[in-house]
């Protein structure tokens, strides 16, 4: 039986400080959200004192629950609407952009590529204010509201599928497409029948990620919303968080959390199935999120 000193100085010991910091960070990061989710099931009106379990804030309460309060479920619908429309536009645009930039040599595509990467580090408020100026001072057919919000969101999100698809293209290489063209296919046919099917996992992953990112967006959708009917959930939370809201706000946020979680989980499982047996896919959740 070793003594405590020997256990402390064991040369094969795990990195205790790093483990402690990591576990501490994860707790600090996730427990507040867990508490907010738990309090969405609170029986009373308090968000800080537990008064029993109930689902009144989801559908029970006749006036204030998410199901019955028109303002709250309008926000939820607007969020989902923005998510779907933006994803439908962004993903094809971004994928085509990535494939095109990959095959086009020159200054213009290099410049466009840099512009796209800039949108990763640009503070969102700058783009939001710029687009607000565009919509309010130019006689465009787009007014503030869902249209303007979609415009801003697509611009901000286009980098996501572009980067994921480019990374995947770099991994695949040009060998398969060139083999197809050596066998007589036109460049377009080779793209359609060889490269696109190989890109499907990356395209799928970027679809899921763009959706999850758009439903959480705040700055762009707030400046570009017309009236309160086009304000999504994030803006509702911002407006009411400090004004003594009921746990219905927690419930709204929890519903959105579950929507995002569902999309990500289902997406990740399908992605794993799509890339089974494919060693170059990088494997696992890191490749899915574009970080590997």
């Amino acid at each position: 039986m070793r003594g405590p000193v020997a256990w402390w100085n064991d040369p094969w010991r795990p990195p205790r400080i790093l483990v402690a910091v990591t576990v501490g960070y994860l707790a600090w990061s996730l427990i507040p959200v867990l508490i907010a989710v738990i309090f969405s099931f609170n029986d009373g009106r308090s968000r800080t004192v537990w008064q029993g379990f109930s689902t009144r804030w989801y559908f029970g309460d006749a006036t204030k629950s998410v199901w019955h309060d028109a303002a709250l479920h309008t926000a939820l619908l607007q969020t989902l609407k923005l998510g779907v429309i933006t994803t439908l536009i962004t993903v094809p645009l971004g994928v085509m952009f990535a494939i095109g930039i990959d095959r086009w040599r020159g200054r213009l595509p290099a410049g466009a590529n840099m512009l796209m990467l800039v949108s990763f580090v640009l503070p969102e408020v700058l783009l939001a204010v710029a687009l607000l100026f565009v919509v309010t001072s130019l006689p465009l057919p787009i007014k503030l509201g869902t249209g303007a919000q979609v415009l801003g969101l697509v611009t901000f999100q286009i980098a996501y599928p572009a980067v994921l698809v480019r990374a995947r293209l770099a991994t695949i290489g040009t060998q398969y497409e060139e083999a197809a063209m050596d066998l007589g296919a036109s460049p377009l046919a080779a793209l359609r029948r060889v490269t696109l099917p190989m890109l499907l996992p990356a395209i799928f992953a970027s679809t899921v990620l763009v959706f999850a990112d758009v439903i959480d967006d705040f700055v762009l959708v707030r400046y570009l919303s017309g009236n309160s009917s086009t304000e999504p959930v994030s803006v509702k939370i911002y407006n009411t968080a400090r004004a003594a809201p009921t746990p219905a706000l927690n419930a709204l946020a929890t519903l959105l959390l579950f929507a995002a979680l569902l999309a990500i989980t289902v997406g990740y499982l399908i992605y794993r199935r799509m890339t089974r047996g494919d060693n170059s896919a990088g494997g696992g959740i890191a490749a899915f999120a574009g970080e590997a």
Binding site: A36, L127, S186, P187, I264, I285, A286, A289, E291
Partner: protein, 311 residues
């Protein structure tokens, strides 16, 4: 036409993938979109900042011809930064301090976590990664709402410090406390730092690090003299990726401390965008932030683009 029929009628054609005409055609919609909705709006901002204000409705009138630009609104903002009328100065200084402090704290927190996850976590790596990526899919607003709930006067943080009634702690965390705002920024943005650090640390060659230990370096020395220099570009990229978006943050300060004592430049922009007659001011502040951020932004893009083509 199937591939075999095509082979039978093979004509000489450009079989190079790169350099075919397909590239520009495919990229065109995306390029046009970026030009129209990314660069275009920036020009509109310039036109408004250097434009005029309608005297009756106090709306901004953009002036499109650069030769007719009127720099008075921009000069107004610049003159209000330092000196006796320096109303914008404190917010700008505060932004720099908060972002610096938050960036440093993020790095101190993110590096150990990323290092552990990338190199030492073994069979827990997948689970840890999933938990580390989770904040990306949890709305920023929800995470701030969670902390607003906890930091209420009767919230869990005060009750924790009261330790079940021994003390009576009733700190007003949510009214103008810079520490709360900085910690809020750290809470919100640290996830953006962990993942690039993880990706970079994951790629470090284990053999080089082991060689340092084999040649006699202590654990601290091999970390300081081998590991850190090797991952310096990753650290720079991660810090830029995290701190640059923080420059435009206004909602953290608004939610965690709705007080002008902790206003950042994002709050200045937010307040002036929504006030009639101050649209030009908002645009000028946007330009100011852009000017400050443009060099780090392009540096970041160069670092990542080079990494892109090198891999």
């Amino acid at each position: 036409m199937t591939l075999t029929e095509g082979a039978a009628q093979a004509k000489p054609r450009s079989t190079r993938v790169r350099g075919s005409a397909l590239g520009p055609v495919l990229a065109a919609p995306g390029v046009i979109w970026l030009l129209l909705f990314f660069l275009g709006p920036l020009y509109v901002v310039l036109a408004i900042v250097f434009g005029r204000t309608d005297p009756i409705f106090r709306t901004a009138i953009p002036v499109w011809n650069p030769l007719q630009w009127n720099p008075s609104q921009f000069n107004y903002v610049l003159s209000r930064i330092v000196g006796t009328q320096g109303i914008f100065g404190p917010a700008l200084l505060r932004t720099a301090l908060y972002v610096l402090a938050a960036g440093l704290l993020c790095l101190l927190l993110a590096f150990p976590v990323a290092y552990y996850t990338a190199r030492l976590s073994g069979r827990w790596k997948g689970l840890l990664l999933a938990l580390l990526i989770a904040p990306f899919w949890i709305s920023y607003m929800m995470r701030m709402l969670a902390w607003v709930n906890l930091l209420q006067d009767d919230g869990l943080v005060n009750r924790l410090f009261s330790m079940g009634g021994i003390f009576d702690v009733r700190v007003h965390w949510l009214t103008g406390q810079p520490v709360v705002v900085v910690l809020g920024l750290v809470y919100g943005y640290v996830a953006y730092m962990i993942l690039p650090l993880y990706a970079g640390l994951d790629r470090l060659p284990q053999s080089t690090l082991e060689a340092a230990r084999d040649l006699g370096a202590s654990r601290f020395a091999s970390f300081w003299r081998v590991t850190l220099p090797m991952c310096r570009p990753t650290i720079v990229a991660a810090v830029l990726l995290t701190c640059l978006p923080m420059l435009g943050d206004y909602f953290t300060s608004d939610m965690l401390s709705a007080s002008p004592k902790t206003a950042m430049v994002g709050n200045l922009i937010n307040d002036s965008v929504q006030s009639p007659g101050q649209t030009g001011q908002a645009g000028a502040l946007v330009m100011l932030v852009l000017l400050v951020a443009v060099v780090p932004m392009f540096y970041y893009v160069r670092v990542t683009a080079r990494g892109d083509t090198a891999s």
